[in-house]
């Protein structure tokens, strides 16, 4: 492991890669701050640029963007009460009241330090957990992978949108359907191409991500421009206050950070759960463990109430890399986008990544930590300036998002059919968003579609077409039982809520 860490450090600490982390953190923070644009959009916009780099550098850039976007989301939560990312909704519960009391600078500093500490601790957990899980996952067979993908898709559908399980499952199926367009990987038979040569190679992953996130976000913002419920809020950027944290506040954070980081990391590891659930659970737990006096301050600007979700959401970000790197199965929409990018680089994540491409495996883990350090160094002094980005008029912002989306697709294929296809998918996605159909399950399904078919093919061929492979192996049966438990639990919660 020590050797691996050294390889990772050597790769991550090159001048080019440090520069990439810095650029990633900076742009991620800016994009994440803009309400409606989360890490997924930020990473999607970066994908075409990363194709010019080697896999390790490209991923290091994306990791920087990821952390930057999560921190940026916290900034808009605190200053505007408009979370840029779902994972920072809980941050606004105490961050925004603190900002309203004239302590916005302090709130941002607490958020930055908590994110840093949560990320640092979870990078340490990841360092020890990922290699051992890699070894365990080598015993996985095709039926286990197939079952695991079913679990991942069910879990993301169950957790992605409250009370919208069926909608999310429809999006999962739609994502898998989109992934089935093009040549069959084994027989090369074309499917759903309708004799259109442009579809023979299938639909590009970047195209789907750009259409369903970047472009559709931009269209949704314009469409809802006059909607009073989503009207842009203004903030007085001159009232940021001091960014110094006093001794009493630090003492509170010392207690909150370790427990919230453990919760965040463990929830992040679970497929489909991610930063949003982690931050809510950490907030709820923190409220239960603090003194009655502190409990009263929750929702009114509590330091614990701000520190807990911020620590947990960053820890969950690192946690969500565990299933992606060790099993090749992303635990969240954002890691699904990163998995797609990895596949684009020709790198197949999974247990063998640890052995075949140790420099990529370890440099991602190392760059995460370096990303945290740079995020803190870069963002703390820049808080007052970064906050001004929130004042960028939408008249400029939207066309620029559209520009990056369209250019991203154009430079990949030099084909206007892809531009039309992207516009078509974006229009459908915008309409679906209006009615709360979640997009992350679609992306996750699109990424997993090919792998899922491949593993089902192998399983069915090995079992001569019998579905007994689903319960022949204990591991497969356990994974499927977990999937059934999630569905049953979800149905139970729905009925309980109704009654």
């Amino acid at each position: 492991m020590i050797e691996g860490i050294l390889i990772g450090l050597t790769t991550a600490l090159t001048l080019q890669n440090i520069l990439m982390v810095m650029v990633g953190c900076f742009f991620g923070t800016i994009i994440g701050m803009l309400p409606g644009l989360g890490p997924m959009t930020a990473i999607a916009l970066m994908i075409p640029i990363t194709y010019g780099f080697d896999p390790a550098t490209g991923l290091i850039l994306m990791a920087g963007v990821y952390y930057g976007a999560v921190f940026g989301g916290s900034t808009s939560s605190i200053l505007l009460n408009a979370p840029g990312v779902p994972g920072t909704v809980a941050t606004s519960f105490d961050g925004y009241p603190m900002a309203q009391q004239g302590k916005a600078g302090k709130a941002l500093a607490i958020a930055a330090w908590s994110s840093f500490a949560g990320g640092t601790l979870s990078a340490i957990y990841l360092l020890f957990m990922a290699p051992s899980l890699s070894k365990v996952s080598l015993s996985f067979r095709s039926p286990d992978y197939f079952a695991l993908m079913i679990l991942g898709l069910t879990a993301i559908a169950a957790f992605s949108s409250k009370g919208q399980f069926l909608k999310a499952m429809m999006m999962v199926v739609l994502g898998l359907m989109l992934a089935s367009v093009g040549q069959d990987s084994l027989s090369d038979i074309t499917r759903f191409t309708f004799n259109n040569m442009n579809l023979t190679d299938g639909i590009s992953f970047v195209l789907v991500v750009m259409a369903t996130f970047a472009m559709s976000e931009a269209l949704t913002i314009i469409l809802k421009r006059n909607d009073p419920t989503s009207a842009a809020k203004q903030v007085s950027l001159t009232e940021l206050g001091s960014i110094q944290i006093n001794k009493e506040e630090r003492t509170k954070m010392y207690k909150t950070i370790p427990r919230s980081s453990v919760i965040g990391f463990l929830i992040g590891v679970l497929p489909g759960a991610g930063a949003t659930i982690a931050s809510f659970i950490a907030y709820g737990m923190e409220r239960n463990v603090v003194s009655d006096e502190e409990k009263e301050k929750f929702g009114k600007g509590s330091v614990n109430g701000l520190s807990a979700p911020e620590t947990a959401n960053n820890a969950a970000c690192s946690g969500s890399f565990v299933p992606m790197l060790t099993l090749g199965i992303p635990g969240s929409g954002t890691t699904a986008v990163m998995l797609g990018a990895l596949l684009g680089f020709g790198v197949q994540p999974g247990p063998r990544l640890y052995m075949t491409n140790p420099e990529i495996f370890w440099s991602i883990i190392m760059s995460m930590y370096i990303g945290m350090v740079i995020l803190l160094i870069l963002n703390l002094p820049l808080i007052p300036y970064i906050a001004r980005i929130l004042a960028v008029p939408k008249n400029y912002l939207i066309p620029l998002i559209l520009f990056f989306s369209v250019t991203g697709i154009y430079v990949m294929s030099f084909n206007n059919f892809d531009i039309y296809l992207m516009i078509g998918i974006a229009v459908v996605a915008t309409f679906l968003r209006l009615y709360d159909f979640p997009m992350p399950p679609l992306i996750l399904a699109f990424v997993l579609g090919g792998l899922m078919e491949e593993n089902l093919r192998r399983s069915l061929l090995l079992s001569n077409g019998s579905w007994e492979f689903l319960w022949d192996r204990t591991l497969t049966a356990c994974i499927l039982a977990t999937t059934i438990l999630i569905v049953v639990w979800h149905i139970y919660k729905t009925f309980k809520r109704k009654n």
Binding site: I49, G52, G163, Q164, L166, K167, M170, V173, L174, L176, M177, S180, D184, L186, S187, I189, R191, F192, L219, I222, L223, K224, N226, D227, P393, N395, Y396, I398, P399, L400, L402, F403, V406, T407, Y410, V411, F414, N416, I419, Y420, I423, V427, T430, F431, L434, Y435, D436, F437, M452, E453, L456, R457, L460, L461, S463, N464, G465, T494, R497, K498
Partner: protein
């Protein structure tokens, strides 16, 4: 059954899944693969049934979280114009070239979104695209076809 837009979307998805399933059955497979446990049409057929199942459930089950969209507040006109500009952009980019179409696309988008600060609009379109093009073409070595710049002799 209470009909709302979510139900209509579910109905459309049901019809789409039925069409997908029909098309999946039409996929031509090799003769020796016809009766194999798994061939090119197996997975799409399962997906078609899954689509019918979930959209069918959504269609028949009561919807406790009905989403109501206030259409009066939606900005159709500007959204439609932006989509139209993007389509025109797609139609002209290969013939005219990246620089001019992208710059005009940005300039027109700013204009139709209500911006009237001409100097800023210009700066964030033509010079901005030129700088971006230099980054892609000049530094990252990504070839960008541009008949317009070639015709005026700027690009080789």
């Amino acid at each position: 059954m209470n009909i709302n837009t979510t139900k209509i979307i579910s109905l459309l998805f049901f019809i789409f899944s039925a069409f997908y399933l029909y098309t999946a059955y039409q996929i031509q497979v090799f003769a020796f693969d016809e009766n194999a446990p798994f061939n090119a049409r197996t997975f799409p057929i399962y997906l078609g049934y899954a689509g019918l199942f979930f959209s069918g459930l959504k269609l028949i089950l009561p919807d406790p979280n009905t989403i109501k969209v206030n259409f009066k507040n939606l900005e159709y006109k500007k959204t439609g114009i932006l989509i139209l500009i993007a389509i025109i952009y797609g139609a002209t980019i290969l013939k005219v070239g990246y620089f001019l179409t992208t710059s005009l696309f940005l300039f027109a988008s700013y204009y139709f979104l209500g911006e009237r600060r001409w100097i800023l609009m210009f700066s964030l379109s033509f010079p901005f695209v030129a700088a971006f093009m230099y980054l892609l073409h000049g530094i990252l070595d990504i070839y960008l076809r541009d008949p317009f710049l070639q015709s005026i002799g700027v690009m080789g």
